[in-house]
Every structure is written in C-alpha cells, then in structure tokens.
Amino acid sequence: MRGITILSLVIFCFLFSYFLPIKDAVSDDTKSCLRCHSVKTLSKQLENKESLSLYIDGSKFEKSVHGAMDCSSCHTDISLKNHPKPKKIASKKAYAKEVSQNCLQCHPQDSLMKPEVHGKIVKKNEIFCSECHGSHYITSMKDWKKKAGFSTYCMTCHQHAITKTLPSKEKLSLKVNESEIKKSVHGKFECIVCHSDFSKINHPIYNYKTKAQYRTEMTQICTKCHKDQDLQKNPAHYALTKTASCIECHGYHGVKPAKVAKSLPESQYCLNCHSRAISMKMKNGETMSVQVKEEDLLNSTHKKLKCTDCHKEFSTTQHPMRTFDSIADYRAKSKEVCNNCHKEEVLKYDKSIHAMAFKKGNAQSPDCLKCHGYHKVSWITPDKSARNELCVKCHTREGDAFSSSVHNLALKQGKKDAPVCSSCHNSHDVMPTNIANLNASCLRCHKDIKTSHNKWLWNPPVRLTTFVDTHFNSASCASCHTQTNKAVYLTVVDRAKKKVLTEDEIAKIFGVNSNEVKGKIDFNGDGKIQEQELWQFMSSLKAKTHANLAGRIDVLDPNDAHKIEPKSKTVKDCAVCHSSGAQLSGKIEINKEGTKAVKFDFERTALNSVYAIPDIKDFYVLGLTKIKILDILFFIAVLGGIAVPVGHITLRILTAPIRRKRKEGK
C-alpha cells in the first residue's frame, strides 16, 4: 500500500513538474529534485510526530549562496536512483545535526572557530549550523548582516537553548524568549539598546564567576536609563534597590510595567513585586522566599486584611530594609506580627514546650508560621482528622499510637465530641506532659467521670467522690485505661512551696551546672538509681531545701497514653497496683523548665525503704509502697505476743510443784 502511494506520488510529481517554471540557473540535478520538492504540501512526519516540510522554493534557492550547487553536494546520501526511499528521522533537531555535518565538507572546522563566540558555539555542539543559518536559502553573511535587524541578528542564535556553564558550576541559560520581550515594557527595543557593548561585529564574552555576580553586573545596564534620582521618587522601591539587583525582582527580559495605579488596593500594590519569585538573603547565607501567592491570601482566614494590617512598618511609601541572622531568627521575630492581634495565643505559646525548643534553636520546633503557614492561614477546619494531621506531621510515633485508640475510633465514626490532639495537649500552650496535668485534660470532656467511677471506686460505708480524687491525683487515667507497661514516677518537688523543683533549681542548690545534676543522683553512672543513691541525693538536697519526692503511677512510655482503650479493656483489678508484686517499673523524673523531664530508672525497692517515709511523704500505695521493716516488726511482735503466754505457761508448768507444796503446806 505504502509502495503504491509513493509510486503514485512520484508519477504525479513527474507530470506536475512539467507545469512548474524551473529556473535555468539551477543544475539539472537540482531540477530533477525540484520536480517533486516544489510541491508546497510535500512534508514528512518524523518519529517524534513533528512535521518536516520537504518543500523547496526553487527561485529562493537559486538566489542563495548555494544556488548553483547540486542538491547531492549537501544531501550526499540521496541520488535519483535510490530516491525516494523511506528514511527514518527522529526529530528536527536530530535532522539538523545530521545535515549540519555536511557543511563541514566545504567550511572547515578551523575557519568556523575563528570568530571566538562562533567557535564556542560550534565546540559546545548544543545547536547546529542549520538551526542558525537556515538550510536552503542562506544568503551571503555580508548581505545578511547588513540587512538583518538587530533583534533578528541576535535571535538567530539566542532563540535556541544555548547555555553557559559558569566557574561556580551554575548553568546560565542564554536562550531569549522573544515573545516575552515583546510583551515587556521594553518590547520595542532592539537588543543593543540595553546590550550596548554588542554589535554585529562585536560579541564580547563575559567571564562571571557566579549567577549572582552576573545579575549584579547586568543590573548596571538598567541604571543607564533608570537613574538614581528617578528611583528615589519611590522611597520603598529605592530602599529595595540597595539590597537586591533589578533582575532579582524584575527578571531579565520580561520586565513588566511597574506603575502602580493609585486606585489599586494596597495589597495589590505590594503584590506587584511580591507576587514574583523574589527572595531575601539571611546573614548566614540562607535564602528565604518573600513571594506571596495571591491565591493563598484569598483562601486564607486573613483574606479581608490588608498587608499592612500585619506588616505594620510597611506602606506604599515605606519599605524598611531589614536583615535577619537566619530563617529561624526571622521566624522568631515574625511572631510579633501575629502578636498584634493574637496576643493571648502568643502568650500561651511562649509558655509552651514548643517555644522552649524553638528558643534553643531546634529549627523543627513549631512556631506560628510552622503550623499556620505564612500567608495561607486557614480557618480551623471542621475536619478533625485533618487537624490531627498537622501535629502528626512531626509527631508520627504519637500519631501511630493514637490511631489504635478508642478516641481515634470515635473520630473515624465522626462523633462530634471526639478529641483531637489539642483537646488534651492544648493548641498553643502545649506543655511537657509531666507538668501538664493530663487527667485534667480528660476531665475537660469526661465531665461526670468522677460520679461514674464512684459507682465502683468507693470505700464503704460512704460513697464519696473524694476517694475517686485520691486515685485521680496519684494515677494517670492512662494507667488504667491502656493495656501497657506502667511505672511509679517520682518527681523532685519543693514540698513547702508546693512546686516542682527543676533541674536548673537543683543545680543552683548544689552550686553546679545543670548538666552535672545527673551525676549528683547517679553517682556510679550506671544509668539506674540504686536505693542508696536516691536517699543520699535526697538527704543532700533536703539539707538545703524542703525537697521531697512526689509520686504518681503512669504509663512507662508516655506515648502509650495515646492508646486509650474502650471501657471493656480497662484495668479493673486493684491488685495491679495494690500489691508488692505489682508489675510496675520505677522512674525518677527531674523536670526541666519548658521541656521534657530527665528520666532515670530507679530500684523500685526504694519505695519499701524506711527512708521513703521522710523522703516520699505524700505518696503511699497500699501493698505497693509498704515499708518492709514494718512487716518484719509485725512478725516479731506476733512471735513476741505468742512468746509471752508460751513462756509464762512454761514457767507456770515448771513452778507448779512449788505451788502444790505451798498449798499442801497451808
């Protein structure tokens, strides 16, 4: 079928060619080719689906520098005998490369290397002869140079994807988008208006080391027209010109009009620059985007605000130039922007574990921007699972633990009172869990919980909720409501002031650095606190303050507190805690201000030591924390109690004869 088509085409062209005026100037060989290639619609579909026109305008070809040459001079692989034959061509680019190889037959490489820039292009092999010079209608270079407009002249090469690799290994694109120039404020300019050091006979080569240097140097082009006194008319813009090159904001060739209509809303005025991909540099070299996406603003909860409602020190006439040490420094200061309206939230945040970590330089720690975004501040979503996602982004382990909980089940079921992370942990004043009274968090939702616990948790003969309180005050809800390992936690407190003693305060008492406190309690450095270590630590602490140990029962791994089980799986056996054989580990907590406590394992037998009486005054769990020596005393007392009658009876038995004799004597 394909053969028939080609044959028909050849016959058609052959007959048709008799009606075409073929120039005499062209060779016979060329005439033969033009019989077919004069058909305007003659084209070929390439493998990449591009269409390659096979039409040759004979009269234009005749006038070209190669007009007297045979076609086969360049198309060496084609003769009338073997043509037409199907030829696979991958793409126009590949064909240009293939055809351009033939130029070298007459134009030797060394002559091509003479003009320096031309030599570089040839050497780079990024673009090929035919792409700049064309193929069949090449005029003499002299004539072409004379006639070509500057833009045409430059774009001949610069329309192509040519690049330059700088010493910094950065790649600089030298491709110019002509339509972008046309649409720009400089659309009517010839290239040399700006690039005045270039001409048809002069093409300087710049040797910039980095893109940044390139941008800075090229900016001098702008200042030829845009003089300092012009720029000063807009103080905000003038200030910016001292911090960034023109190109960084305005781009290279697509410079848009910068005239801001007076009628424009203020935010639009700012977006004029800030909608572009602009960035600012920090002192430590970090780069931060200062681009603002308008759609983010429009979709944010702040959409009705003007830029200056938050960025108060900026206006259409004022644009202070600020410098920041780092992105973290910027973020820390940006909190003040939020503080303008959200004072309460910022105040709460400042107390949080997140703020503390942020101050310590943990870049991953959340601040306003980390959770709420810069300009994309969204409404609090009604989708509770989505709300949790925000926290889970960083707290993956906690998220996994929570996913198996009855709370997450409630979330999945869409129950309206199902909790999210912030229900327990708060949203802004997120506290270390040992300081935050998490039971109180449970009670926030489970309001009648004391009464319901009181149905079974009471001490006869009177049903009092204070008995529930006793348990609530000394065991976390998670202790019974999760099927996890548990521990007795001892926390160092100032009993007189009724407050936790922090690591810093303990360090102060001992007159050492905070990091040396560990050595004060764990003398032998084995990571576990033996009884003797604990009491020695407490006695030296008590010598200087009203220190004591507060106790509570909690889950061993704090993360397990997220695994709250349904009621049916709750621990209901009192002996889980109320027995000397209770499977509870021992943990000592030394609190740190605003961050997680330092934890040590301790020998749980310490709880049964006589020293626990003065050192753990307010924590006693029946069975679990009983003082061992009293058990021994009990047995001694019982044995002593038995020994009295046994001894006395024995003596009476032994002395019975004396009594008998005496009676008889009477």
């Binding site: 001490n459 006869p460 003969p461 009092l464 204070t466 008995f467 309180d469 006793t470 005050n473 009192c574 002996a575 109320h578 027995s579 000397s580 054989g581 626990a612 009486i613 003065p614 753990i616 005054k617 307010d618 924590f619 006693y620 029946l622 069975g623 009983k626 003082i627 009293l630 058990d631 005393l633 009990f634 007392a637 019982v638 002593g640 109690g641 038995i642 009295v644 009658p645 006395h648 009876i649 003596l651 009476r652 002395t655 004396i658 009594r659 005496r662 009676k663």
Partner: protein
Amino acid sequence: MKKIYLHPLPVRVWHWINAIGFIILILTGVQIRFVDQVGLMSFETAVQIHSWLGFILLANYFIWFVYYIFTGKFFKIYIPPFWKPVEFIKICIRQAKYYAYGIMIGDENPHHPVPENKFNPLQQISYLFIMAVLIPVQIITGLMLWDPQLFGSVVSLIGGIQVATLIHTALWIFFSAFIIVHFYLATLGVTPMTHIKAMFTGYEDEH
C-alpha cells in the same frame, strides 16, 4: 462465793463488738498488706470489710466513750492516782512482781477488782493509754487512709500520708501482739474462764 458486778451491759456489748472487730480488722489488715502472700479473700473484699468494720468500731468506741464519760466512771476506773505517784509505782511493781513471780509460787493476786476499781495498776495504765490514745489515733489514721483526699488537711498536718500509714501500721503491729497477750491474761483469773465468763455475764466470782 460472792459475785461482783464488774462489767455493765454497755461495756460488755462494746467489748465483744470491739473484740470481734479487732480480730477481723487485724486479719483484713494482713490481707491488704500481704495481698500476694495471703489468700483469705481478694484485696477489694479485704478493703471493704476493713472499712466497714473501721466505722463500726468508730461508732462502738462512742458506746464506751459515752458510757464511761457520762457515768463519770472513766475518771474513777481509768485514771491512775497520779497525785500519789510513788504509791502508784509501788503497786505497779507489786503487780508486775505478781505476774512474774507471785503467780508461779501461788501468791494471791494483789489486786481485787471492785466496780469502782476493777483494773489492776498495770491494766489501768495499759487501758488508759489504749482507750484514750491508741484507739483514737488508730481511728483517726484509719480515717486518713480511708479517704486521704477528704482528710487531706489532717494528713498534711501530721506530715503526709506516709506518717499516717506508719502510725496506723505500727499500732496494727502493737494491737496484734497485744491481743495475743490479752487473750492469755484473760485466762489468768481464779480459773481460766473466770474473766471470760465475767465479760459475758458481767459478774466476776470473788474468791
């Protein structure tokens, strides 16, 4: 044989409720403390019985208290003659000598109980201390442990729950030993059942 009415009915009622209560309290106390080693009943049951009985004995204590205080007998029977200390110490030594030596050789008990003076000097000291100090203290510390939150202010007053527990446990130890000795001493009447019978009938045989 002469019978002396030593124990009025309220005293007898109080005594036996107290006696049964004491024994069960000691046993449930043992169960609570040695939950892993003793299997008389579950921890929960032991606590419930212990709490019920604690309150029963608290009420029972008032029977004793009201009876003795309102009849004025408390001062006659329980208060040793501290205004005659030397003499009192002497009769204490005499009584102790009797139990340690006199009883062995067949001496007569130097103390003859009468309704106004039914306790020998050693009993007097012991019972005064037990009834006026130890039992109230045991009841108060018991209440603290019964609901540490409700009695929180009293708990902090004495220095924390550990102190309350220590006192309550120490008294449990004392009472456990005391009750054994008390059983034995109750048999040291003229006949082994003299005192015990008297505590049921109220009348003690005078020999």
